[in-house]
């Protein structure tokens, strides 16, 4: 097989060769970019993670082996922010369920579909900082939209969304679900439109009801989309930072809103523990890598392709 490919290559024309040289050039640009802006910083961060580097002192003069890692794993704040990060992920299945439901609704619309898709997609293309500031006002205890509505409907004053250790997590989940919804809707909509009509017609002739159509045709055939959304949301879920920084400032009462990346930032930039921050980043990268690998491994069990 390999041999075949090589012999084939020898037979290609002069023009094809020239095109190949050009192809190399085109590849070179992003590859050089990758080397400078990704590979080097990654290597640097891994190296720095073994040092008590503060940004001011010597990086190589303060190598401490795995001490940063040991300290991280015994730091209560690390585990607290890890748990918070995982709690925020409750929003992922909720977002996927809502996304699919709305996409199925939109899929039936003929004329208004484009309008509603745009409406749902606006949060995705908006600046995260801007919408976070906006939502901080929505969640405001006294003047917020949410608490005004709660008060108008029930007569009770709503919770202190961003100040209370429990409610801040609910607030963040609501925000993240809202922010991510448009993305899943678009993807699900595309997935739904790719399912050939004949499958449904054939199933209907065989007497399948609506639920059976959904369960046995729709769900399996959009599973690649579901898989894609799951992977990207999980990776994104581990990297949540901006909304916490903007809405709570210091990570919330008793660090209750802080995520892993917030913890990393706090250590590295508020407390000049850059080497330690690098070690947190390495741990985070490993976790993301592991979870993504597991997902890819497990996909055979539930992700089906149309061919």
């Amino acid at each position: 097989m390999m041999q075949k490919a090589v012999t084939k290559k020898h037979q290609i024309s002069e023009m094809a060769k020239r095109e190949e040289r050009w192809a190399w050039l085109f590849i070179a640009a992003p590859f050089v970019g990758f080397l400078f802006f990704m590979a080097y910083p990654i290597g640097f961060a891994i190296f720095a993670s073994f040092s008590r580097w503060t940004g001011v002192n010597s990086l190589t003069g303060n190598l401490v082996g795995f001490k940063n890692y040991a300290d991280i794993l015994t730091d209560a704040k690390f585990w607290k922010s890890m748990v918070t990060t995982l709690i925020y992920m409750i929003g992922i299945p909720i977002g996927m369920f809502l996304g699919l439901a709305i996409a199925m609704g939109l899929n039936r619309m003929k004329h208004t579909r484009r309008f509603f898709t745009t409406v749902y997609y606006v949060p995705v293309v908006s600046s995260l900082v801007a919408v976070s500031i906006l939502w901080a006002w929505v969640f405001n205890y006294d003047y917020g939209l949410l608490n005004s509505m709660i008060k108008a409907l029930t007569g009770i004053h709503g919770p202190n969304w961003l100040g209370d250790e429990f409610w801040v997590k609910v607030a963040m989940i609501i925000f993240m679900t809202w922010k991510g919804l448009g993305g899943s809707i678009i993807l699900y909509l595309a997935g739904l439109q790719n399912i050939p009509r004949d499958y449904y017609e054939a199933a209907k002739i065989d007497g399948a009801n609506g639920w059976q159509l959904f369960k046995n045709i729709t769900i399996p055939l959009i599973s690649p989309v579901t898989f894609y959304i799951l992977i990207t949301s999980l990776i994104g879920g581990f990297q949540v930072f901006v909304e916490v920084q903007v809405m709570t400032g210091n990570g919330g009462t008793n660090y209750s809103a802080a995520t892993i990346v917030f913890y990393l930032f706090d250590k590295a930039f508020n407390n000049s523990q850059l080497g330690y921050g690098c070690a947190v980043a390495v741990i985070l990268a490993l976790i993301i890598f592991l979870i993504t690998a597991l997902n890819f491994k497990g996909q055979d069990k539930w992700v089906s392709t149309m061919d």
Binding site: R52, G55, V56, N57, Y141, N160, T253, N270, N271
Partner: protein, 480 residues
Amino acid sequence: MKRKKLLALGLAALMGLSALTGCGVTTTSEEGESTSSAATKTEMTGEGKDEINVLIYAQEHEKAAYEDQIKKFTEAHKDQIKKVNFEVTTQDEYGTKMTAAMTANDLPDIFYVGPDALRSYVDNGYVLPLDDYVDQATVDNLWPEIKSAYQYDGKEIGKGSLYCLPKDLSCFALAYNKDLFDKAGLAYPDPKKPYTYDEFLDVCKKLTQDTDGDGEIDQWGVANANAFGMTPYLFSNGAKFLNDDLTKVNITNNKNLKDAFQYYVDLTAKEGVTPTVEQDTALGGYQRWLDGQIGFYACGTWDVAAFMDQATFPYKWDLCGWPVGPDGDGKSTTWLGSVGFAVSKNTKYPELCAELISSLSTDLEGQKALSGETTGKSMQIPNIRDYAQSTFKDKVADGTIPYASNLDVIFGYIEGSDQYKGIFPETTYTYNAEWWDTFLEGIPNVQNGSIPVDDYFKEVEPKMQEALDNAIELQNAATK
């Protein structure tokens, strides 16, 4: 053939720069996404050969004053200077930029160093000792507190060589809204005799009112931001968080601190003379103060220009001292702050740079602009002591500089007096402030009554100690 084309394309991408002659100023701005003020870069050009890079953070008025200063300096030294690159960033980004510059071994010639960062900068050889470069008369005319904050002998702060000239010396006094006092028929606070804890609470209770009669409090005696406005209450009861050599957190067995902190949280939890924790997250004390809902609010020396501006704060106000606790030395005590201009140890032009920072720090015209005589906006107390004590005071008295009339409160904190004292907080001398942030994080839970002070102290002390140990270890690593 095609390769040549590519090369040509690459060359075309390099732009030629036309040389600028004479004095010129070019400014470019980059909008920061997350910060409100924009970072800017300004170039001042002369006809000489030396090129100086300056990196600081500043507010708009300060930036304008320093820009004028550098322009004048460039003009005066134009046969020597080719260019001064004056870069102003935001305070948030400053640390990140400096870390990047240090990592790349490409420090600007002139930059800010605060008293808290001085040791690590000196230990790692980044800053130039100024002893041989600045004139002794200039140094002698600085506030003593500030001079010692920038002296370091390799072991202790306050001794040895001088490493910075101050950008400013600031302090955090207390302001009160006169209009609310008038409405309540209360006598104004006496600037010569700060309130005791009890007197202060009593006045706050009288100022806490439901003004529109809807059954809800809408005017409070005082509002405090924990991160900045809490320590003056504690310091004024002689409270400290750490032992003298700054190695042990001492809060559970510390009566001065416990009593003062209890008093502080009770203002919210028990007495209700401040907005509740929930109300405070909804709208911060600063906005409520500007809105006329608050009797007493903290006022930094940098806040004065804003509070004097009728459009920002349409009320009559004045300064007074923080309330004094029963167990301290009887002085109303607040924290001092400062940041200083430093010269890079690796600069090619130490004399020129030292001269430039002297002008930024202590030039009379510059200080007149920053403290308000020529601009009408007082951003800071002048760094030049004899000017501050004479002309500056006179200009405040005759109204040339819009200022609160009890200016002496500020001078009391800065110079020290029988009633007043200013100190640098303990975080100034620890390698980072994580132990302090750890203490701050849980305070809202004490203020809303979910955890008593004793329990909170017991819970937080070991965490603070861990963070402090960490800082000490970093401090040791910093000198390697």
